[in-house]
């Protein structure tokens, strides 16, 4: 892929406020294409807030205000000309708790393509649903029951269904907000394996509370603390040779 190694998401001096309270201060970082970048940090440090700035989910909160620039594929996403809906088709999101629609498995995956008119025929739609489910490593488990409700799957399957739903609309970037925190270790392992596969085609940003997970899946790691980006760099460097004392304390379990 020609985008390999390029900067996919770029943030410059991002400040986020909830009313009068500042949640993020001067965040500047660049996320490379086709890499997995993990955001770690103690609860309330702003990592999820920052993640939600990248697909403008924060706009749903009336009192939330974002300053600074965030560029996705070179485009300033807070520019007036950018439509939030179009942005979210390019920057998909997987949530902490699996949230499939209370519809059939097929409908769950097809919904995004349907609303964006991405397919021209029923058979093409079916093909792409199958393709998305295969890439989410779920096809073999659900191919015989595509018409059954997605809510009837197990937690891990539901989360993979949500991933299939997200990749079906072919985003450039996939944001994952603690995607495995509600899952057991086996389901978590499957998700991590899947993330590994998906980085071939997507840029992935993952928020996680598990440092082992960050170490396992990501190439880049950003450590957030109290609304500041403390340290950002190669995952191996962050975990083996942290520059900042706070990072050191966090990864050794002294704060958090």
């Amino acid at each position: 892929m020609d985008t390999k190694g390029k900067i996919q998401v770029s943030a410059k001096d991002v400040n986020v406020f909830y009313g009068d309270k500042q949640a993020l201060q001067n965040i500047t970082l660049d996320v490379k294409s086709n890499k997995v970048t993990s955001f770690i940090g103690p609860s309330g440090c702003g990592k999820t807030t920052f993640l939600k700035c990248i697909n403008r989910m924060n706009d749903l909160i009336d009192i939330c205000r974002v300053e600074g620039n965030i560029l996705v594929a070179g485009q300033d996403i807070y520019d007036k000309s950018v439509d939030m809906v179009a942005l979210r088709a390019h920057v998909g999101m997987v949530f902490q708790k699996p949230n499939p629609f209370p519809k059939s498995i097929f409908e769950n995956v097809a919904y995004g393509m349907k609303i964006h008119n991405m397919t021209s025929s029923k058979s093409e739609l079916a093909d792409r649903v199958e393709d998305s489910l295969r890439r989410a490593a779920l096809w073999d488990e659900v191919k015989d029951r595509l018409d059954q409700p997605g809510t009837g799957l197990s937690g891990g399957q539901q989360q993979r269904l949500c991933i299939a739903r997200t990749i079906a609309v072919q985003p450039k970037v996939i944001l994952m907000d603690e995607p495995a925190s509600a899952l057991d270790p086996i389901a978590t392992a499957k998700i991590e394996e899947l993330i590994h596969e998906l980085k071939q085609n997507f840029t992935i940003i993952i928020v996680t509370h598990s440092m082992q997970q960050a170490a396992r899946v990501s190439q880049q790691t950003a450590f957030f603390h109290l609304g500041n980006l403390v340290e950002f760099g190669k995952t191996t460097d962050i975990f083996t040779n942290p520059q900042d004392e706070r990072t050191q304390n966090y990864i050794t379990g002294r704060i958090g």
Partner: protein
């Protein structure tokens, strides 16, 4: 009793006793509520069951060719023919007073029934016709056992002489009870034996149709806008407070509003289901809006995030995902609102739906009355026979309510989704 668990036994016994007491209080409360319900429904059913029967009297009418002009069959005096038939049956009756009470045995509808029959079959003229006629309300009550037949003659509806006539008719089999079809197929009447509930039933159906068509879509749209789109600011809070207050406004105030605005300003037809439905819609709207907002709030935010997260617009999110999940709750609100509208009398009094209306309304702009108003009117009538009509109309109202709720519940089950 000693075992290794006895250390907290004293307080445990007290706690268990409290639980047992509470369970019993709950059971007693339910028993009281159910017995009230049974007494109410039972007494109404018992009183109203009489209205399902109608008493008929058979008379032998001589269709005297001299009385019926073959060229103008419809204009003949059929009342006189009925009277003659009664006098022929009881030739001993000669006094004016007695004649009058003899005529009172059959309903005044008898003349119309005979008229219809002869007009339909002019060939009958000149012959004797044995025909069943509707009995008067007093005779009907007597046959149903609702009137005194002993004791002081002056305080009874029927004198011994009249009872004698009736007994002689009974003996020859000229009095029978039939199913009262007319009660379900005719409109109101001043004569209890002829009064039917269909006019009020159709009026209620039209009124509720108008009410539903206005209040449900407007209520749902308002709720969706307020809950999903409107910004949370002071205006929004003000609107919310006002909607909650409107839900508590006495219904007669809405009737006055309807009178002042719909009738006097817009000049819409008085006594019509259209205006009735509009007034009831105003009354029902706050209930529906409040219930629909609660239903929307109960939809987990994760569903909204999921849809928005893959690029659905807000309106797609609401109509594809949120509203379908909230629909059962919305329908529940609509059921509550419509049930309240169904039983409402006061606002309808204000807009003239209390009038005595015989004709069955054919559209929403024709004068009509509604079931609760009909019950009110009948309960207000002095005739003994209206008592059972009142109860029967209440049964019809309850059946209407049950059917309406059944439809809503079926719809709700059909559209409900898990999440």
């Amino acid at each position: 009793m000693t075992n290794s668990f006895t250390d907290i036994t004293p307080s445990l016994r007290r706690r268990h006793a409290r639980e047992t007491r509470f369970k019993w209080m709950g059971k007693i409360a339910i028993i009281i509520a159910v017995s009230f319900l049974l007494v109410m429904v039972g007494s109404i059913a018992w009183l109203g069951s009489g209205a399902l029967k109608q008493t008929r009297v058979q008379l032998n009418v001589h269709l005297d060719a001299a009385q019926i002009d073959a060229a103008a069959v419809a204009d003949a005096n059929y009342g006189k023919l009925i009277k003659t038939a009664l006098l022929d049956r009881f030739p001993e009756v000669t006094k004016r007073r007695d004649k009058k009470s003899l005529y009172g045995l059959v309903s005044y509808d008898a003349a119309y029934a005979l008229h219809d029959r002869v007009v339909a079959e002019p060939g009958l003229i000149g012959q004797d016709l044995r025909m069943w006629f509707v009995a008067s309300d007093d005779l009907d009550m007597l046959i149903k056992g609702n009137l005194e037949t002993t004791g002081d003659e002056n305080r009874r509806r029927f004198s011994d002489k009249q009872l004698g006539w009736i007994n002689s008719l009974k003996e020859e089999g000229a009095i029978k009870s039939v199913f009262n079809v007319a009660f379900f197929t005719t409109g109101d009447s001043r004569e209890p034996e002829l009064a039917g509930v269909l006019g009020a039933f159709v009026g209620t159906a039209f009124t509720l149709l108008v009410c539903f068509c206005l209040s449900f879509p407007i209520g749902i749209m308002a709720a969706i806008y307020l809950e999903e789109f409107a910004k949370k600011n002071r205006w929004n809070d003000l609107i919310e407070v006002n909607i909650n207050n409107l839900a508590a406004v006495p219904s007669i105030v809405f009737g006055l509003l309807g009178l002042a605005v719909f009738l006097n300003v817009f000049g819409l037809p008085r006594s019509s289901p259209l205006v009735g439905g509009m007034v009831l819609a105003l009354m029902t709207l706050p209930t529906i809006i409040i219930a629909a907002r609660a239903a929307l709030r109960a939809v987990p935010p994760s569903i909204r995030e999921a849809a928005l997260g893959i690029g659905a617009t807000q309106i797609q999110t609401v109509f594809h995902h949120v509203a379908p999940l909230a629909l059962p709750g919305m329908l529940t609100g609509a059921i509550v609102g419509m049930a309240r509208a169904l039983g409402e009398t006061a606002p309808l009094l204000m807009i003239g739906m209390v009038a005595f209306i015989v004709d069955i309304p054919g559209s929403v702009v024709q004068p009509a009355t509604a079931l609760p108003v009909q019950i009110f009117l009948w309960a207000d009538s002095p005739e003994r026979a209206f008592l059972e009509k009142t109860s029967a109309a209440i049964i019809v109202l309850i059946v209407f309510l049950i059917l309406m709720n059944l439809v809503a519940i079926l719809l709700r089950n059909k559209y409900s989704q898990r999440f």
